[in-house]
Symmetry: C2
Subunit: 259 residues, 2 copies
């Protein structure tokens, strides 16, 4: 489960999407894992979720964010490198500060916190999983590779483009939701960049990008479509998700055995 904005000792609460009602709903559902993006709820709310037995995760894009999340009570930190597709979990330090790559971020987060670290960003196959473990991660979070799976409700053109998109043909943009997020560069992103228009508040920017996305999907055009993708998109393969999960585990073991 991914949440909206929240607070943690040093964080700025930008938009109170995850309020008391959402907290009570989640607590009642007793999920095994609650994973936060864009920061963390305050400590008292985290304790309520922990009392239900939930494991608490949250994403950090810098060492400073990882340390703040640990202080905020997470059971493990997700170290999200700039290669990742979709929204960057950034919540401290200003949204425009230099984005750190997975290779540099993971070992520095591992050194800075006591809780386990889950590596995210640029991991799409057995090699990536083995490399993340080498950097000191205790687990990995994989997004883009699962977008290509048959179960994902992907527009066929998005799935097709995903498989042939090199890393440099994606970009982190604020034009879709206002929060920085990595997507495949298309006409919408390029023209919005050119226009220099400042996006409106998160998540209201979706009221602009959403209808254009819907129309583009309906017209079988990628021009204005929202197409999330990490820089590892071209490593993805089309197969059922269960098969991919087994393949990833098998391939990672094979890579580790050969090292």
């Amino acid at each position: 489960m991914s949440s909206g904005s929240a607070t943690c000792p040093e964080a700025h609460a930008i938009e109170p999407i995850f309020g008391e009602e959402m907290l009570q709903t989640v607590a009642a559902l007793t999920p095994s894992v609650v994973s936060f993006h864009f920061g963390l709820l305050e400590r008292s709310a985290i304790e309520i979720l922990k009392e239900t037995g939930a494991v608490i995760l949250a994403s950090a894009t810098t060492v400073r964010e990882a340390v703040a999340l640990e202080a905020g009570g997470v059971d493990a930190v997700i170290a999200q490198g700039m290669e990742a597709g979709g929204h960057r979990g950034v919540f401290l330090d200003g949204i425009d500060l230099g984005a750190v790559g997975t290779f540099a971020l993971v070992p520095q987060v591992v050194d800075a916190v006591q809780v386990p670290v889950i590596a995210a960003g640029g991991i799409a196959d057995g090699r990536g999983i083995a490399a993340a473990f080498a950097l000191g991660a205790s687990g990995v979070q994989i997004g883009t590779a699962f977008l290509a799976c048959l179960e994902a409700l992907m527009h066929p053109l998005h799935r097709e483009l995903l498989l042939q998109t090199p890393g440099e043909a994606t970009q982190v943009t604020r034009n879709i939701s206002r929060r920085p997020a990595r997507a495949i560069t298309n006409r919408y992103i390029t023209e919005m960049n050119k226009s220099g228009t400042e996006p409106i508040a998160f998540p209201l920017q979706y009221s602009l990008s959403g209808p254009l996305n819907a129309a583009s999907r309906k017209n079988n055009s990628t021009d204005l479509m929202v197409m999330w993708a990490g820089q590892d998109a071209a490593l993805a393969e089309v197969m059922p998700a269960g098969e991919l999960l087994n393949k990833l585990a098998k391939d990672a073991k094979a890579v580790l055995a050969k090292l």
Copy 2:
């Protein structure tokens, strides 16, 4: 040895720094390795260097660049991720296209070329070396970690800052030489960004940044100093270079043995 600009089948020769005279000089010196940055010389020049017994390396920042370098006759490709300090070796695709992280770049380059791949960017310790091998690299290129070594002619303030600089406090800037290069964010970079001034042609932009750097060094100020650094700078340790080399090899073996 690192060279200026050059050409390869698809590349644009931007500045003919490496001309006939330079080629003859290098060939006469018979170095063991000739490593190119910002593209490759034309095939006939590469053959002249190869006939001297030199191993030819060159840097790629995208899969397309790696394929072009292989076609141009390199013996191995350096896959340079965006975490790397100093100049990005970008020579195709336009300088402003999305920068790809080491984690996403290395396996995709390994899949695309037959020659060995050397991983660069974000690698500063044994964990990084082991991770690069897991991604399929046959070797690594380490820069920033050696900047902290006693033999490096570093200004003491640059060395000191290096050890405490998180990845997000560096940025890729064109304000120093016009070509994109990663350095520690300081007053010079921040104010040049604010000014919106377009840098003049490479390497002439140094005629602006160079004297300011020299004056800043002389005055023991980091304000206008050129301070190259990768996103892994804070992993560096101060020691003699030989000791670091032995430590890296030993630590990488220990990480690999534990996986």
